[in-house]
């Protein structure tokens, strides 16, 4: 098969970008992943003396969360519950024309072409996405029994790969689904309870400071999420947040 690609090209964060049109070779194999198709296009660009298309990618098995681009308006493309590296060309037809863009959000500045800066997510985690336990100070793992239902649900939230598709899909570029998944994973576990209030207040404050928008219940994030993280976690985070605000009665600040 053969496709026409309109790809967003942008030299760096400070330059304006534009679409460029490329024809793929006509032997694109339906079993190829989308990124392997781009590899083939890139090899030809290099041999023709042009700069290849830059995009983030690493594990290519859908777990590292590095890859991500908007294909025909959908983050990670038309395959549900899959990252771009797990999108296969059999999802497309011979002769299709595709529009390929980076995540677009104020919190994710474009670095080059399809590559964006997602360090905002790390800063949100740094603000409280952890349980303070010193190495070596943990009790025996079976001393804290956790019901299977709770453990499974914590795992549902913890499955987030931090790719940012939720932000890219949201009309407000909100990072609520990402933040909620991190907050709820820890807040619902007994180990995470002592820091529950502080965690949710600080992480939400950081999320806001990074320039992400608010949630207005479009639920596009859940639809785009390659791990199908549920928006229920957003509702639960809102509950945690309100409870924490009521209990704390103090401004949310960085301690120390």
């Amino acid at each position: 098969m053969k496709l026409t690609l309109n790809v967003w090209r942008q030299k760096n964060a400070n330059s304006p970008g534009h679409f460029e049109t490329y024809e793929t070779p006509d032997d694109i194999n339906p079993d190829m992943s989308f990124l392997e198709m781009l590899d083939v296009v890139n090899q030809n660009l290099i041999l023709d003396g042009n700069e290849p298309i830059t995009f983030d990618h690493d594990c290519r098995e859908g777990i590292c969360g590095a890859c991500g681009m908007v294909v025909n308006g959908e983050p990670h493309g038309p395959q549900r519950a899959a990252t771009t590296c797990q999108l296969h060309m059999r999802k497309f037809k011979d002769g299709d024309e595709l529009w390929i863009e980076p995540w677009r959000a104020a919190g994710f500045p474009v670095l080059k072409d399809l590559m964006v800066d997602r360090t905002a997510f790390d800063r949100i985690v740094s603000a409280g996405g952890y349980i303070s336990v010193r190495t070596g100070s943990a009790p025996d793992a079976n001393e804290i029994p956790i019901g299977k239902e709770t453990a499974d649900r914590a795992m549902d939230a913890a499955a987030c790969i931090g790719c940012g598709a939720c932000v890219a899909a949201c009309p407000n570029a909100s990072a609520m689904l990402f933040t909620a998944a991190k907050v709820r994973h820890l807040n619902m576990l007994p180990q995470g309870r002592p820091e529950k209030d502080r965690r949710v207040m600080r992480m939400v404050a950081q999320m806001d400071a990074e320039g992400f928008g608010g949630c207005t219940n479009h639920l596009e994030c859940e639809a785009a999420c390659p791990k199908e993280i549920s928006t229920d976690f957003i509702a639960e985070m809102n509950r945690d947040f309100v409870q924490a605000m009521v209990r704390s009665r103090q401004p949310v600040t960085k301690p120390g």
Binding site: D31, M32, C64, D117, G136, K148, H185
Partner: protein, 644 residues
């Protein structure tokens, strides 16, 4: 050829040695810890856990990774689980049994003291991870669940669905982010280590390239810790991430660190077969699948083109069950991989390329029901269907071995310090603990053991003996050695960009991978290895003459990153073949066709090869020197591994 000393404690019973060693080690006064700086390269399980723990102890840590976030290191892709000798199942497990299994599984090519320490620490890792909120699988009573894994006769593997590596890494990453928040760790993402700075025999710093701006920078400290994973991508196709590379280890090797046992590579038996030459990576299917799946090929090569369902039961060869009745489909990875290769060499491989064997769940579905099979392996079945467009509930999966892990790595002593003072190596990047073959669910264990519970002590013991740079101020960015290191890196990058040849980096990488896979893969022999050594050297020469790297060094340039990594693989691949050539025995993942039993099983030569081979770099295109570290076995009796 010198004899190396691994500095393993040998006095007293083995179960007391680590404890005694810890007591004997020097401590750094709490008030002095903040005067030291640790340079941590890599943020996988080993790097992230070590950086977090050392930051928490009070050291200043600067941490580097090539990814855009420390959370993306390739530990994240480990599926199956992590071993620990908790004996929560009351099925007869113990620290000693895990120790014994690991030494035996490694085909008696690892250090007893190291492995025992690993088994001891395994129980602390589970406690630590559970306290961090890692959502391990649990039973209805709320206690932790276990499964048997990779041929172990006890259930000692802890897991979090099929995403154990991800969850353990996110645990270590959260601990790391906590220290970043506390100001004890400075994180430098999208920075790749390009060179080691050695001054008077001591590792004092590194040179990095900023992958966004291209800037070449030097970073100085009191020690350097390398936790950059393995070199499986030398084979081009592997289950490693695209960016996994051997550069930090190889650059350290070129600066004097010995590289140990590079020929020990693990080829994992249950991966999705290669489809076409466009393929960029191979996908592993967790080997937990072998708990219920049955491996087979047609008895006759005439049947390979038939659909699996059209091959009658009596015409199928369940070759693992036939050859290894005691272990059946659960034989260790090296044995299962080699057996798959042999049936494919017989012309009985299935699928379009003939390089595949069936992994069949029909019996399991009949015995347990589709629902139970789906509960156990649902996500893996989905993944398989997603990639291959075939439904494994209806037709058997097709699998083939793929490069997965490298047991070899930089040589380290018991303290995880290389032969270069101040250079520590953790996790897959070092050579210790797994011998010639790693058991399933042991990589996560070793990475976290090194990072949480070994390095924080042993690095401290080293630092206690040296004056901190913040006090001595004997080195800065303008010192001759530091300037020279930056100059070398810049020169190499410039050279790569200037070749402007006719082949892409991937072209070279693919050719290198093919050579290594053919001659230094699942079976190796003298003439093949000699041929590969010559051809890799020729390919390397051609690379520097004919590679095309587009763009420049002053911005994001993934092709330049790849070119630099592949240039190192072109040297490392040769050393791997050289090591395989010199090790004239079969052991673990290293199978020399000349050293086999009459039944075609691997045959060790303990008399001549019960040692670690540690290679010393002697110069570009020079023959390296092979040093030996003798392996002593006090507790585990050497015997031929048998899974029959």
């Amino acid at each position: 050829m010198a004899t190396l000393d691994g500095k393993c404690p040998t006095n007293g019973p083995i179960e007391k040695r680590w404890e005694k060693h810890r007591f004997d080690m020097k401590l750094v006064n709490p008030a002095n810890k903040r005067k030291y700086k640790v340079l941590m390269v890599g943020t996988g399980l080993a790097g992230a856990s070590a950086a977090a723990t050392m930051g928490e102890l009070g050291y200043n840590v600067t941490c580097f990774c090539y990814q855009d976030s420390p959370r993306r290191a390739h530990s994240i892709a480990a599926q199956g689980g992590i071993n620990a000798a908790k004996n929560y199942q009351n099925d007869g497990d113990s620290v000693y049994r895990l120790f014994y299994d690991t030494v035996k599984g490694g085909d008696y090519r690892s250090r007893e003291s190291n492995v025992h320490r690993l088994a001891e620490i395994s129980v602390n890792i589970i406690d630590q991870a559970a306290a961090q909120g890692v959502p391990f699988a649990r039973e209805y009573g709320g206690l932790l669940a276990n499964r048997s894994f990779g041929g172990a006769q006890v259930s000692r593997t802890f897991y979090a669905r099929g995403q154990t590596g991800q969850q353990l890494l996110l645990g270590a990453y959260s601990a790391l982010e906590r220290q970043i928040d506390a100001g004890k760790v400075e994180m430098k993402t999208r920075h790749e280590m390009m060179e080691l700075i050695v001054v008077d025999g001591r590792a004092r710093g590194i040179v990095t390239r900023n992958l966004i701006t291209g800037q070449v920078e030097s970073h100085l400290g009191d020690c350097v810790v390398i936790a950059t994973g393995g070199y499986g991508n030398v084979f081009y196709l592997s289950t490693n991430a695209m960016g996994c590379n051997g550069t930090a280890a190889w650059r350290s090797h070129r600066k004097g660190a010995f590289f140990a046992n590079p020929c020990y590579t693990q080829i994992h038996p249950t991966c999705i077969p290669v489809k076409g030459n466009y393929q960029s990576k191979l996908t592993l299917m967790s080997e937990s699948l072998r708990n219920d799946g049955r491996v087979w090929v047609p008895k006759s090569a005439d049947d390979v083109a038939k659909a699996a369902g059209d091959i009658a039961e009596e015409d199928r060869d369940y070759y693992l069950e036939r050859r290894y009745p005691a272990f059946g489909n659960l034989v260790p990875r090296d044995v299962a991989s080699r057996a798959a290769k042999q049936v494919c060499d017989d012309g009985r491989g299935v699928g379009a390329t003939g390089l595949g064997v069936y992994l069949d769940f029909a019996d399991a579905i009949e015995r347990l029901g589709k629902k139970a099979v789906s509960d156990r392996y649902g996500n893996l079945f989905d993944m398989y269907q997603h990639i291959t467009d075939e439904n494994p509930y209806e037709v058997p999966m097709r699998i083939f071995p793929a490069v997965h892990y490298t047991m070899g790595g930089l040589w380290v002593d018991y303290n995880l310090m290389s032969n270069l003072e101040g250079l520590f190596v953790l996790g897959e990047a070092n050579f210790s603990d797994h011998g010639a073959n790693r058991l399933g669910a042991s990589a996560l264990m070793q990475g976290l053991a090194d990072g949480y519970f070994v390095a924080p002590y042993t690095v401290g013991n080293y630092l206690a003996r040296v004056q901190p740079l913040s006090v001595t101020k004997d080195l800065d960015r303008d010192s001759a050695e530091v300037k020279e290191a930056r100059r070398e890196v810049k020169g190499r990058l410039k050279r790569l960009l200037e070749v402007d040849g006719k082949k892409t980096v991937d072209d070279f990488h693919r050719e290198l991978g093919k050579l290594c896979w053919e001659h230094c893969g699942m079976a190796r022999n003298e003439s093949g290895l000699e041929k590969a050594i010559g051809e890799i050297a020729a390919l390397r020469e051609e690379f520097w003459d004919n590679v095309r790297v587009p763009g420049s060094n002053d911005s994001v340039n993934p092709e330049l990153e790849k070119a630099s990594r592949v240039s190192d693989f072109l040297e490392l691949g040769e050393l791997m073949c050289r090591d395989a050539l010199e090790r004239r025995e079969s052991c673990g993942g290293h199978f020399r066709e000349e050293s086999a039993t009459e039944e075609g099983e691997a045959k060790r030569d303990d008399e001549n090869f019960a040692h670690v081979a540690a290679w010393e770099f002697t110069g570009e295109n020079q023959v390296p020197i092979r040093h030996k570290e003798a392996l002593e076995f006090e507790y585990v009796k050497l015997s031929q591994r048998s899974y029959k």
